[in-house]
């Protein structure tokens, strides 16, 4: 996938944040998960990656975050190696991955605690994040007392605590019911509007990708490679009524068709 012509919503902001060039990944002696992948993401862009199970979507996020190294090819995040760029990145996993022995507040403050942020500053930041995601009333609750949607909001708040410039989201809403998922999609867009981070979002849902993204990348499996790229030119701000518009339906059907092509191949 190349940087032009539809890199970002606003072409004046075409500052590259992620550059993956000729990236291949093989685990152990197994078959290649990804092969010769080129991907660029601009600052403040929201890119969704969609594809069949096992096509390497999550591996792309792990490579960008430096949790795994490519077998060949190069990855730069803000011009740095992924490991050196970690301070600018936050990761939201498929499961909420909360520490069950910590309260909601303490879970949100975890990333700040690990990075050595002092107690007072940490508490202020946690309070503001609790307000931001609407969880002030359950600040002292433990994860087991929360619904799936609330847990995921805690997870998102924790990811935002360190003021990331890049957010990696690995199917964060996959386990939620449709209503919670739609609601959180709108929350994500609101938070992004306020905080202006870049997002790479892995999902299985075409409608979710269409609703959230500036660009949709369809991956083909065995080995994972870019099959098609769809710029999303839907109006902003995106509200729930958009999901029933003809443009939205048309985009969803084009992306779905492309996905079916990857499976047929």
């Amino acid at each position: 996938m190349t940087a032009s012509p539809n890199l970002a919503r606003d072409p004046s902001q075409n500052v590259l944040q992620i550059e993956m060039s000729g990236v291949s990944k093989t685990y152990g002696g197994g078959p290649a998960v990804l092969q010769s992948l080129d991907l660029t993401v601009c600052r403040e862009e929201f890119v969704s990656i969609i594809g069949a199970s096992g096509c390497g979507k999550s591996t792309i996020l792990k490579l960008i975050s430096g949790l795994t190294a490519p077998t060949s090819g190069s990855i730069r995040v803000e011009g740095m190696t992924p490991k050196n760029a970690r301070e600018t990145i936050s990761y939201v996993f498929q499961e909420a991955t909360l520490l069950p022995w910590r309260t909601v507040s303490d879970n949100i403050g975890l990333s700040l605690e690990l990075e050595g942020v002092a107690g007072d500053r940490r508490r202020k930041k946690v309070t503001s994040l609790l307000d931001l995601v609407g969880l002030g009333h359950v600040a002292k609750a433990y994860p087991r007392e929360l619904s799936g949607g609330m847990k995921m909001r805690v997870s998102i708040a924790r990811a935002l605590a360190t003021n990331p410039r890049l957010l990696l989201l690995d199917e964060p809403f996959a386990a939620l019911d449709e209503m919670s998922r739609d609601h959180l999609n709108e929350e994500i867009l609101r938070l992004r509007e306020e905080q202006k981070w870049t997002a790479v979002f892995v999902t299985h849902s075409v409608a979710e990708a269409a609703f959230l993204s500036d660009r949709i990348v369809v991956l083909a499996p065995n080995p994972g490679r870019v099959h098609a790229v769809f710029p999303v030119n839907l109006p902003s701000p995106r509200v729930s009524a958009l999901r029933t518009s003809p443009e939205f339906d048309s985009l969803v059907s084009r992306v779905s068709h492309s996905l079916r092509e990857t499976l047929a191949a």
């Binding site: 792990k62 936050s90 990761y91 022995w101 087991r144």
Partner: protein
């Protein structure tokens, strides 16, 4: 609360039924008292020799608690060592199986030879026998952390120390309690077994094991039963103390405590 009262009453009813059955067996089969004393004779022995029974109970409790506390401290340290790498576990973990498989009855005379008879030897036996479940369960808790949680910590450049104390150790607490629950029962068995060999640990008095041996040699079967009853009470006390501590530390966040509450 009402449910708990009903549960307690049910347990007491079963106990009363067992006592009645015991008495019926004595009447029907004409069992002599030196083989099987009557329930009231055991109760009488408990009343008559309560001070020495209590003294034996306290000695065994002290030895079991000492052995259990030492096995928790040493077991957690060994588990922390094992959690450092797969290589370390492969090298050393099989040796912990020795603790589980070696028959303590065979080793007890050796320990007495090395340490000498008395409370330290019995405590050491209780420690050895209760160590394996602590190591096995704590190690399992330390290494079975969700990979994504480890990734989360790595994303924030967490140090090994932060990974251990902020993630692995709290994650292992429920498993540690499972180990302590198992170990608490066998620490008491270990102490009593040790006392069978260690003899009188203080001048003129010993723990439950020593007293069981003495009562048996004197054919004081009613007192023997009283001692067995005391050993059971001790085992229950250890078990329920650990259960309470487990509930106290875990009930706010762990599923196992919720199961305990609903049972």
């Amino acid at each position: 609360m009402r449910q708990r009262a009903i549960t307690a009453m049910n347990a007491m009813a079963v106990f009363a039924a067992l006592l009645i059955l015991w008495q019926i067996v004595l009447w029907v089969f004409h069992v002599p008292p030196y083989m099987l004393p009557a329930p009231w004779a055991v109760a009488k022995a408990i009343g008559a020799r309560f001070p020495s029974l209590l003294a034996s109970l306290l000695i065994t409790a002290e030895e079991s608690a000492g052995g259990l506390a030492a096995s928790i401290a040493v077991g957690v340290l060994i588990a922390l060592f094992f959690a450092q790498s797969r290589w370390v576990r492969k090298m050393f973990y099989p040796y912990t199986l020795l603790l589980q498989t070696v028959p303590i009855i065979a080793v007890a005379p050796l320990i007495l030879m090395w340490v000498g008879a008395g409370q330290p030897a019995v405590t050491l036996i209780a420690f050895i026998i209760s160590l394996a479940p602590i190591i096995a369960n704590t190690t399992q808790g330390l290494i079975s952390v969700d990979e994504n949680l480890v990734h989360l910590f790595l994303m924030h450049n967490a140090s090994r120390r932060q990974l251990l104390f902020n993630l692995r150790l709290p994650h292992a607490v429920p498993s540690l309690f499972v180990g302590i629950r198992i170990a608490s029962g066998i620490a008491v068995i270990g102490a009593i077994t040790g006392e069978l060999y260690a003899g009188s640990s203080r001048v003129g008095e010993g723990g439950l094991g020593y007293s069981i041996l003495y009562a048996s040699s004197q054919l004081q079967t009613d007192y023997l039963f009283a001692l067995v009853f005391a050993a059971t009470v001790l085992g229950f006390t250890f078990f329920f103390t650990v259960m309470f501590l487990e509930w106290y530390f875990l009930h706010r966040w762990h599923e196992s405590a919720r199961v305990m509450e609903t049972e």
